[in-house]
């Protein structure tokens, strides 16, 4: 168990709240994009960029950085917003999301934004790339780089993930940490209706991974899980992070219809008001 102070948790909550506001504003400005997953994952992104990742926003190509692969690229508003709030680029640039000439493409594009590790959007491909990074890092006997990969739960419908999951345990990639956004929604409805995933942690364990299931909107649990993952020495580690889709905006929470749409101005104002009213 790794402790985290109440003071630190409060600081992270405030940062995550600011990131959520940026997400809502940029999506409203863009008039399209993915709201639910972006808001649901804001706490995990905040923790990764503010606590877990070894990185240098002022020197994104720093060779010894940890790697973060966002596989479900459609939740890139949370990636962009967290990066902006971490100093990678100006927060004002978030308003260019999905617009012509922007570095912030509708799905992440590394040629335009080289400070991200990979382009993504087409689902099911991120974990394989993260595995490639983990293997390359091991071949180099480099310093202790961690490779984080984030996938959506619906994304696990893609068979390629299971090719990758098998290989990661075969190669005993103890430098690989997979975080599954277990929010139980995908475009056509509930994950358990569209293509039941059931007990994901058992599935991973039967593929010889280690891991745990947590509340992905609780910083204490996130902190503890990342600590466990970073101290795993035998196997790849999965964190099944149960998150609430659209977390923070009560009216939208849990509704799969917010998976792939953006708020209009009225909805944005309502949401921002709610986030502004939170007492930390």
């Amino acid at each position: 168990m790794e402790t985290i102070t109440d003071e630190k948790i409060k600081e992270l909550k405030i940062q995550a709240n600011e990131i959520r506001k940026s997400i809502i504003n940029m999506l409203c400005e863009a008039k399209s994009g993915h709201t639910a997953g972006s808001l649901g994952m804001a706490d995990i992104f905040t923790y990764l960029y503010k606590v877990a990742l070894k990185h240098k926003p002022e020197n994104p190509n720093w060779n010894d950085r940890d790697r973060l692969v966002l596989s479900n690229g459609h939740i890139c508003p949370v990636l962009y917003a967290t990066m902006a709030h971490s100093g990678y680029f100006p927060i004002e640039e978030l308003n260019t999301l999905r617009k012509f000439g922007s570095r912030l493409q509708g799905h992440p594009y590394r040629e335009f934004l080289p400070m991200i590790e990979t382009s993504s959007g087409p689902l099911g491909e991120g974990l394989s790339q993260a595995i490639g990074m983990a293997i390359a890092s091991r071949i180099d006997n480099g310093i202790n780089k961690k490779i984080y990969c984030l996938v959506g739960d619906g994304e696990l419908n893609e068979g390629q993930n299971w090719e990758a999951i098998m290989l990661a345990s075969k190669e005993k990639l103890n430098n690989l940490i997979l975080i599954v956004d277990r929010n139980y929604i995908q475009i056509d409805g509930s994950t358990e209706t569209v293509m039941p995933l059931g007990d994901l942690l058992s599935k991973f364990k039967s593929f010889d991974w280690n891991g745990e299931t947590i509340d992905g909107n609780d910083f204490k649990e996130i902190n503890n899980a990342i600590y466990n993952a970073e101290n795993e020495h035998e196997k790849p580690y999965v964190i099944i992070a149960k998150t609430v889709p659209s977390k923070g905006v009560t009216k939208w929470e849990g509704n799969y219809k917010w998976h792939g749409i953006a708020p209009n101005k009225e909805e944005r104002d309502m949401a921002i008001q709610e986030l502004n009213d939170i007492n930390f």
Binding site: V69, Y109, R110, E111, E117, T118, S119, S120, G121, P122, G124, E125, S128, Q129, A130, I131, G132, M133, A134, I135, A136, S137, I139, D140, G159, Q160, E163, A164, M166, L167, K170, E171
Partner: protein, 330 residues
């Protein structure tokens, strides 16, 4: 006559001329590339010996990854390794790589512009008895349509080896098309090679050629044999080895069209979208020329030995002779 500026194999017309598969040329090339550069890594999808990556893997087991029968994972892992500075060579049969994993190649390799080398072996009808399901006849079309991709189709094992070493030093995503069977060595170790350069391997002893034949892959041999037979009848032909399909040597293609006014393209691949289509795209825009496309005519292959398949599908030496005669008599 053979263009001896290229120091080609002069024994090519002997019955017992040496034969070797392009996949073996790749395997030998990868060993050399891996010896020269520590960053070269190999990945294979349960076809290690078939794709001749075993030559590399035997020596550099720490730089070889067996991914199992999982071609989508294969290239995506390679992309991740390339992002860490490795030079990954990912091999399988061409029907699966780039066939099965095309979208992964598009997104994780080409869209990311990662330095991954895709090795597709057993391409074309020449894989023979395995039958139509395993005869990749679409791989050139699938790869040349992708931005950032370099597409190579060696005429023999020696060229395949040179290509493998050359692409281990480049940064571009690359597709290298290899074939299963032992085929005649057309080039020698001394033959020059440069990515993006086509070569005239056969030309008239004197005067201008009446027909220009553009071949890719081991069918270059059939084309040379056909041209030699017709040379004895005084028919002047130029034969181009277009082993680099992308980037295309447009200058050389236009020059050949200007000289001959008649172009034949020949490939062990679908006519639709293949090397001939690339030539047509070039000439239609810059120097419209009548082209006879020889290749597979919008159909699948079947089991048989490579010779009988080549004859049935019209890409054997006799078929080439027939097409040249048609052009000459018009």
């Amino acid at each position: 006559m053979l263009n001896q500026n290229l120091k080609l194999n002069t024994k090519i017309f002997n019955k017992d001329t040496e034969k070797k598969s392009t996949r073996l040329g790749f395997g030998e090339g990868l060993l050399q590339a891996g010896t020269e550069n520590d960053e070269v890594v190999g990945l294979c999808a349960d076809l290690l010996e078939s794709t001749k990556m075993n030559i590399f893997a035997d020596k550099f087991s720490n730089r070889y990854i067996e991914v199992g029968i999982a071609e989508q994972n294969l290239v995506s892992i390679a992309s991740g390794m390339a992002s860490m500075g490795k030079v990954p060579f990912a091999s399988s049969y061409a029907i699966f790589n780039p066939g099965r994993n095309w979208e992964q190649i598009r997104t994780t390799v080409c869209y990311n512009n990662q330095n991954v080398k895709i090795i597709g072996s057993h391409a074309g009808l020449s894989v023979g008895p395995d039958g139509g399901s395993h005869q990749a006849l679409e791989d050139i079309a699938l790869t040349r349509v992708l931005p950032n991709m370099v597409v190579l189709s060696p005429c023999d094992a020696i060229e395949a080896k040179k290509m493998t070493i050359a692409i281990s030093k480049t940064k571009e995503p690359t597709y290298l098309r290899c074939t299963r069977n032992d085929t005649p060595l057309i080039t020698t170790n001394e033959t020059p090679f440069e990515i993006g350069k086509a070569q005239i391997v056969w030309q008239p002893e004197s005067g201008l050629a009446k027909v220009g034949i553009i071949a890719t892959g081991p069918l270059l041999y059939n084309t040379i044999i056909a041209s030699k037979q017709l040379e004895e009848e005084g028919i002047k032909i130029k034969v181009m080895n277009l082993s680099c399909i992308k980037p295309l040597d447009t200058e050389a293609i236009i020059a050949l069209a200007k000289e001959t006014k008649n172009i034949i393209t020949i490939e062990d691949h679908q006519i639709i979208g293949g090397m001939g289509s690339a030539v047509a795209e070039c000439l239609s825009e810059s120097y419209p020329t009548k082209i006879k496309f020889m290749g597979i005519k919008d159909m699948f292959g079947q089991s048989g030995n490579p010779e009988e398949l080549a004859k049935y599908y019209g890409i054997d030496t006799e078929s080439i002779i027939k097409e040249i005669r048609k052009i000459i008599t018009i």
